[in-house]
């Protein structure tokens, strides 16, 4: 059973406010959901729900770092590696509020020597949610990660990276990041099955 399945959702995780920045600017949150590779998994609900905390004490500036972004890349000659190299500057600019830590080749190799089951999954982008870590440390939900190395084509890797960057921007002030991710993952599996039933061409996620 893969972790993160629907039944493994932690009680209370969804309702717990992560930080008091629930009110997204009206222009930032999407009004409707889209359906492209990975996008359903990483997009989509307005974060300006009623009932979210909005006291001045808990509000943070939009420029306050919400995430720490780590990049592990040993340098495999893979589409994911190339896409990341080609578009890193853009990611850097889009996420300028959040620090990006690049492990470098030596540190990445050392990292994967200790986590050999992840060899070939890199480039890996791990995002630590500082709000969640402030609440529960690392014992519960505390971020998310993208394994670009598992994508087989340049187009898949690029689309995944774009959706990932969009997700980061759109959810910087989310109060329920975990819930949004898990709902998206469930929707994606269901949507794929419905496509098959309807006889449409299956979407390619990792081939």
């Amino acid at each position: 059973m893969p972790r993160g399945s629907g039944s493994s959702r932690r009680p209370g995780a969804e309702a717990r406010p992560r930080r008091g920045t629930a009110r997204s600017p009206p222009t930032e949150a999407p009004a409707e959901q889209e359906t492209v590779v990975l996008q359903e998994a990483v997009v989509t609900e307005r974060s300006d729900r009623p009932g979210t905390p909005a006291s001045a004490e808990t509000e943070a500036s939009p420029s306050t770092p919400r995430f720490r972004i780590y990049i592990v890349d040993t340098g495999w000659d893979s589409p994911g590696h190339k896409v990341l190299q080609e578009n890193f500057g853009l990611i850097r600019e889009l996420q300028r509020e959040d620090p990006i830590y690049v492990l470098g080749r030596e540190k990445s190799i050392e990292y994967l020597r200790h986590h050999e089951e992840r060899i070939g999954h890199d480039p890996i982008i791990a995002v630590h949610d500082l709000a969640a870590m402030g609440d529960t440390g690392t014992t519960d939900f505390h971020g998310f990660r993208l394994r670009l190395g598992l994508l087989r084509t340049h187009q898949q890797a690029l689309l995944a990276l774009q959706n990932f960057a969009r997700f980061l921007r759109m959810h910087r002030q989310s109060v329920d990041l975990e819930g949004e991710i898990r709902r998206g993952l469930r929707r994606e599996g269901l949507a794929g099955a419905i496509e098959i039933i309807l006889g449409h061409e299956a979407r390619e996620i990792g081939g």
Binding site: P2, R3, G4, S5, L38, A41, V42, R68, Y70, I71, D73, L84, Q85, F88, G89, R92, P99, I100, Y101, V102, L103, G104, K107, H115, A126, V127, H128, M133, G137, T138, T139, D140, F141, H142, G143, F144, R145, L146, R147, L150, L151, A160, F164, E178, I181, R182, L185, R186, E188, G189, L190, G192, A193, I196, I197, I205, G206
Partner: protein
């Protein structure tokens, strides 16, 4: 009897179709989670190591515009 067989066949095929649907949903969710998933308790050690590297100054925010 032929009518019964056809009933059995219909039930069997329907069960197969439903089973396939659930299998396909599960397969796609697994595949997606391989690529994109949350970090939770299973990743605590890795997360802590990365955070330690930042806290100790071993890792600094990357300011370059391109990856070396």
């Amino acid at each position: 009897m032929p009518e019964r067989w056809s009933d059995y066949l219909t039930i069997f095929m329907s069960a197969l179709a439903v089973g396939y649907m659930f299998y396909e949903i599960d397969r796609r969710q697994r595949k997606l989670r391989e690529i994109f998933d949350v970090l939770d308790a299973e990743d605590a050690a890795v997360t802590a190591r990365l955070e330690d590297m930042v806290a100790s100054g071993e890792l600094q925010p990357y300011t370059g515009a391109t990856l070396a």
